[in-house]
Amino acid sequence: MSTSAAQFEVPYVQVLDENGNVTNPDRVPSLNDEQLRDLMKRMVFTRIWDQRAIKLARQGRLGFYAPVAGQEASMIGSEFATNKDDFLLPGYRDIPQCYFHGYPLHQLFLYSRGHQLGGKVPDDVHCMIPQIIIGAQIVQTPGVALAFKLRGEKRVAVTYTGDGGTSQGDFYEGMNFAGAMKLPAVFFVQNNQYAISVPRELQTAAQTLAQKAVAAGIPGVQVDGMDILAVYSVMREAVDRARAGEGPTMIEAITFRYGPHTMSGDDPTRYRTQETQEAWEKRDPLIRFRNYLVSKGLWSEQEEQAYIEEAKETINAALKQADETEKMTVPQLIDSMFAEPTQELLRQRAEITGEGAN
């Protein structure tokens, strides 16, 4: 005899098509006009920031930078659905979410340049330092979420990773802990089709990444990651579920990064074609949402131009602040190893400063 032991489904959600027409009226989130315009502003800001960051990186004025163009809807739409006191555990590419969650822009510049103060997240900003080690933040997420649960706080832990990140054992471990302990967490995967040069098909034989949630016993949803309304809607549902004590969700956003993996020498033409690139650019999140807003009379060309100027000023001011930040010193690094320095560290410090060496 053989019957089905269990059956699962992986929903796919889209709200706007490539031209900005509503394809799924039931899922249009209830956002007021100001919120809708805010979503657009944030995407415009992110696109401008990305262009500027790429230029700065080329001039050697930034440090490490992972471009985000193409992924704005996934990034902005998901963060927009969180509360300010929900805690983000981002990866290295998730700089826009950090910024809109309150991480000061000049500190994100400092982070990119490799300055210790880049990681000194202000006390009232509920965000971890962007993670470099792929998967590390995913196993930490249940810990943050358990803290909220133990303290009876209605807060949610939200972590981000990429398609490549879902291959780490840590990815399953994090979801499984959260599922087993029914924790208020959301695992947001930006499937931008590549892990550096390695295409999504080589990462896993699974048909979707979202179905990886099934093995952890939690819901997995796939969403059009170039559609900010769909992303917001799906994320909002996941965050609300978590907040209501109904457990974690995993979201796979289907998206694409237009630029190189990072600004440290990656050449995307080595691993993807011009046609692929162009096909994705047709689904652009900004074009799509702009069309939608224009059709509702909520957005205009002039407004966008004005907003672009504003964004540039914000970026310049942050850059200036980063430039003016004092240089670190090696003794400062030594002092930041422990709450109280060890005897050996004090000795090493003296050796460097020349104060009472040995």
Partner: protein, 326 residues
Amino acid sequence: MAQMTMIQAITHALDLELARDERVLVFGEDVGHNGGVFRATEGLQKKYGEDRVFDTPLAESGIIGLANGLAVQGFRPVPEIQFFGFVFEAFDQIAGQISRLRYRSAGRFSAPVTIRSPFGGGVHTPELHSDSLEGLFLQTPGVKVVIPSSPYDAKGLLLSAIRDPDPVIFLEHMKLYRSFRQEVPEEEYTIPLGVANVVREGKDATIVTYGAMVATSVKAAEQWSKEKGLEAEVIDLRTISPIDIETIVKSIQKTNRAIVVQEAQRSAGAAAEIVAQINEQAIYHLEAPVLRATPPDTVYPFGMIEDDWLPTPQYIVDTLNKVTSL
């Protein structure tokens, strides 16, 4: 003969071994189609096919576990850890598994795996890319640790590592990848593991070092010679586990003074081990305690300050002056 950078010498060595031994497999993140993020495996997938040079899913523990399984089945895997800071992800597979296989099975199984990985400072990477973590593997019985300082050595040492019957961690300093070219013979040659190289002769003090600090130490020795008229002997260990203590002792018998220069933070690493072995085997030849010229015991520094943290020629000269004035 051809002029090669270290990265070219490494590609060339992999090419020779893939051609020579069918059991050799090369794999890791981005090493197949893309030829590696530093192009160390450029062209190899095209030449040897996707069965022998391939991209893996993104999972370091998976990569080294795969190598372990393949090795048990008679292959000679050469996996890559994209940057050595990611080795923590694979720590159990290396320190808990591969290194112990021969021992646990009384020789029935072994793991002739060569783990290649870029590391090393001065190139302004993000966190956990540049850290010198080799010391962790000096505390791991059953693995050898090799760190070449030049294109010529990289080729000869990599061939030896791949042919070695035991696991070898082969660390490639990023700063050396393209910093200079050197004559590298096209034909096969090996440099035995565990044998140091005296790269500069001198009679007044011995500098024991490895990796990128070899060039920095030679610079310091030249400066010292000019400033003080004293000559430092510079020993490039090439293999830091096991350490070639004989070459060190021989040098100290002549110079009677020694310092150890390492890029890794100070405590409990290669330098500490070298000092301990010198203490055991050459203490009666010493006129002064052996000193360490290393960065302090912090985590590898943030990109903007790494040049202040890494040992400089001046710091090494100061340490030489100190060891000769004691």
